[in-house]
């Protein structure tokens, strides 16, 4: 017949969280111990406002890079900036940055990768020669494409550059190669609308400097000398703002508002939202393997 459950005194019998024993409770019994192993927000991080502001400077820097690049292009396009000047300034700042990088790094990275100065010089020379050689091609490559398309494409590419840039977050969308490629593509597009092939060559070189080399130096600065990094960021932001101001006052104000909201308002909002965080943990969570298991295979 039926398996009758032992009807003992319910007050005496204590409920146990086990399945193998027939307990004198109905199946839908809810004990006081229900959900006692529930934990909330055990991995939640406490954020410090100024630390978040400091971290947001990476985004500010990248926005400023794009802004400076566009401003420089506009100056070139209008004929207000001679290409030689830009080339000279770019070369000087590159050399300065190179020395600075080595100075901060104290040759550690060089030791690790085993790369010599001669190799650096060689790749720089190869790059400059090739760009110079191909600049007439760059100039005429997009001649048949309408200027509006070029502008639209450049805007998309620069936005993509900002989206995919490696800001240090560990997300699937981050891809520094894609980001760099998009920026270079934008620069090629814009360079093809400049008056002469020398302009195009210098524009692309400048793009490499500001989108590939400058972030590397920034990263080094941020890791080794945070104070000077803050100074550099402020200086860079002001110069970008100044440059934009000379073209359009409204644009400059909007840009400044954007920078302020990113560096001051967003961190504030992030910290406020932490109060509403409710991350639930309990025995049902998938366990994490914390050890490094690859040692067994190497």
């Amino acid at each position: 017949m039926m398996c009758t459950q032992p009807i003992t005194n319910t007050k005496e019998a204590k409920w146990q969280k086990v399945l193998y024993e027939r307990q004198p409770f109905p199946d839908n019994y809810v004990d006081r111990r229900f959900l006692e192993e529930l934990r909330k927000n055990i991995y939640a991080r406490k954020y410090q406002y100024w630390a978040v502001v400091f971290e947001s400077s990476v985004v500010v820097q990248q926005l400023c890079s794009v802004c400076v690049f566009v401003v420089i292009w506009w100056y070139m396009d209008e004929g207000l900036l001679a290409p030689h000047w830009l080339f000279g300034a770019g070369l000087a700042s590159s050399l300065l940055g190179y020395v600075l990088f080595d100075f901060i790094d104290r040759g550690e990275g060089r030791k690790k990768s085993g790369r010599t100065r001669w190799a650096d010089l060689k790749s720089a020379l190869v790059f400059i020669t090739f760009t110079y050689g191909f600049s007439p091609v760059l100039k005429t490559l997009t001649e048949s494409v309408s200027t509006d398309t070029i502008y639209a494409m450049s805007v998309f590419m620069l936005l993509g550059h900002l989206i995919f840039f490696d800001y240090g977050a560990n997300a699937a969308i981050v891809s520094s190669t894609l980001s760099l490629n998009m920026a270079i593509f934008a620069s090629v597009c814009l360079a093809s609308r400049l008056p002469r092939s020398l302009h195009a060559f210098i524009m692309v070189t400048f793009a490499i400097q500001i989108f590939a080399l400058w972030p590397m130096l920034q990263k080094k600065l941020k890791a080794c000398t945070p104070r000077s990094y803050v100074g550099v960021t402020l200086l860079f932001a002001f110069s970008a703002f100044g440059g934009l101001l000379s073209i359009s006052a409204v644009g400059a104000i909007l840009f400044a508002l954007l920078l302020i909201s990113i560096s001051c308002l967003c961190p504030f909002y992030l910290i406020r939202l932490q109060l509403f965080k409710e991350n639930i943990h309990g025995p049902w969570d998938e366990a994490e393997i914390k050890e490094d298991l690859s040692r067994f295979l190497s």
Binding site: D27, N28, P283
Partner: protein, 485 residues
């Protein structure tokens, strides 16, 4: 926490207690139910959910209920089939989308499901597995048609990532007006209550079971000169195959008379093969590949110790099967595993190589010193724990209870959806529920219930098969055969 009955907790609880208490059950037993199990997962697909549905249905048929199963077509297996004891299975021609789960538009399955529910005179819909789209569809339509609903959740889910946020929301929608929910362990109940924001009173815990006669020990099959550790699981990340790849070299270097038998297939098999190659363990680590369910016992009885490295588990059938075969079980302490076996039969470890190795060494030490229980003893203890008969009895109580409840009428259901599932989702699904209702009215107009032939019962109180068995008389329409075109 959402509260289904709002306010007063004390009274309903008492009422519940008296209603399901064993004494009053004999009165409930007088009427039987027409149960329809719905899930995307059924034989020929293999797995825990599939065998759960099959075994539960068989035991319910034994207890005099009418049971049918609705699933989707598997390859050439479509139409209507009969299994042992007249268990009728509908393999519906619905498109499979991902992982044997059907694609859902929420509506396209209504005509067929409604036709089946009407012709079989179904009174209770029992859906299985939260991964099955068809199960949720059936719940949705059953509520529209005013049929009582029960849902069994077989899996655990986290709360951390985006996909689980979405699936948990859908589960909330699906379960907010379901009459009763069954979970397989207390941990699973806590998880489901949190995921779907339910009142814990309407969630019952009924564990899975194993057939102890299928898993009997056979001490002569194992060689006592060596110690054999058996692992039977799919070789995937969630089953902790990575941990296994660390344990094997660690222990094999320490104990010279230790062998591993690993049954199962999966994407992580390659790392086990690499480990075997790297440490030259070809004669000591046997990889058997995919196992048929009937072969599992023959593999289990060859070992002394069973190792389970799962990272998450609602109710681990494998360790019960292994213990039933008389093996000492070493397992990770995750999910519902600590609830499954008493402390003297299982060694629980943290999910790390170090802890699992310590647990295995403890088991090896006990084995060498002879302090372990004999396989026969372990089997005799375990076989009383989980039986399908017991599961069926307890599930029957849920059905009795549910059949006395009222199904929410349409207006109350819409209120519930809107108030329970958040403003956006709630309104969207309330709208969908209205569409579903309009579609149902249209279908009722197209083919009224009166012109749908009532199916001949194979099981249940007036079942043709049960009569055939008891009186061995061959009635007119008993002769239908299970072949379909």
């Amino acid at each position: 926490m959402a509260c289904r009955r709002g306010g007063g907790h004390g009274q309903p609880t008492l009422a519940t207690l008296s209603r399901v208490s064993p004494g009053s059950l004999s009165t409930c037993r007088t009427h039987t139910h027409n149960i329809c199990m719905v899930s995307d997962f059924f034989y020929p697909n293999m797995g825990g959910v599939e065998s759960h549905i099959y075994q539960l249905s068989q035991c319910l048929i034994e207890r005099g209920h009418k049971v049918i199963i609705v699933t989707h077509a598997y390859g050439n297996r479509k139409g209507i089939r009969y299994l042992t004891k007249g268990l009728k299975v509908y393999y519906l021609p619905l498109k499979v989308m991902y992982n044997q789960s059907t694609a859902t538009t929420l509506f396209h399955s209504l005509p067929l499901l409604r036709y089946i529910f009407v012709r079989e005179r179904v009174t209770i819909i029992h859906s299985h597995s939260s991964f099955s789209a068809m199960a949720h569809d059936a719940l949705f339509h059953a509520k529209t048609m005013g049929i009582q609903t029960v849902f069994t959740d077989h899996s655990l889910f986290g709360f951390a990532d985006v996909s689980s946020v979405l699936t948990n929301k859908l589960l909330t929608v699906s379960l907010c007006d379901t009459n009763h929910i069954i979970c397989v362990s207390y941990t699973s109940k806590e998880n489901t209550v949190l995921r779907a924001a339910l009142n814990p009173e309407i969630v019952s815990v009924i564990p899975n079971a194993v057939d102890p006669t299928d898993f009997t020990p056979d001490p002569f099959r194992r060689h006592d000169s060596v110690i054999t550790i058996v692992v039977v699981s799919r070789l995937v990340y969630r089953k902790g195959t990575d941990l296994l790849s660390g344990i094997i070299p660690e222990l094999c270097q320490k104990y010279q008379n230790l062998n591993f038998i690993i049954g199962g297939e999966g994407p992580k098999r390659i790392i086990l093969e690499e480990v075997r190659e790297r440490y030259q363990l070809h004669d000591r680590v046997r990889l058997l590949g995919a196992l048929e369910h009937k072969d599992v016992r023959n593999v289990l009885v060859q070992g002394h110790i069973f190792l389970n490295t799962s990272l998450t588990e609602a109710f681990c059938m494998a360790i019960v099967e292994a213990a039933s075969c008389g093996l000492q079980v070493v397992s990770t302490r995750v999910g519902g595993i600590p609830e499954v076996l008493p402390e003297n039969l299982i060694i629980l470890c943290e999910p790390s190589v170090k802890s699992l190795c310590e647990g295995l060494e403890k088991a090896i030490f006990q084995l060498n010193s002879g302090t372990l229980l004999t396989p026969e003893n372990i089997h005799n203890i375990v076989k009383t724990f989980y039986t399908w008969r017991n599961v069926a009895e307890r599930t029957e109580k849920v059905y009795d209870w549910v059949s006395m409840e009222a199904v929410l009428p349409m207006d109350k259901r819409l209120d519930r959806l809107i108030s329970h599932c958040g403003p956006v989702t709630g309104y969207i699904f309330a709208l969908l529920a209205v569409f579903d209702f309009v579609f149902l009215v249209f279908l009722r107009w197209m083919t009224p219930d009166s012109i749908i032939d009532v199916a001949v019962d194979a099981t249940g109180p007036r079942g043709a098969w049960t009569h055939q068995c008891s009186h061995s008389e061959k009635g007119g329409e008993n002769n239908e055969m299970s072949k379909t075109r």
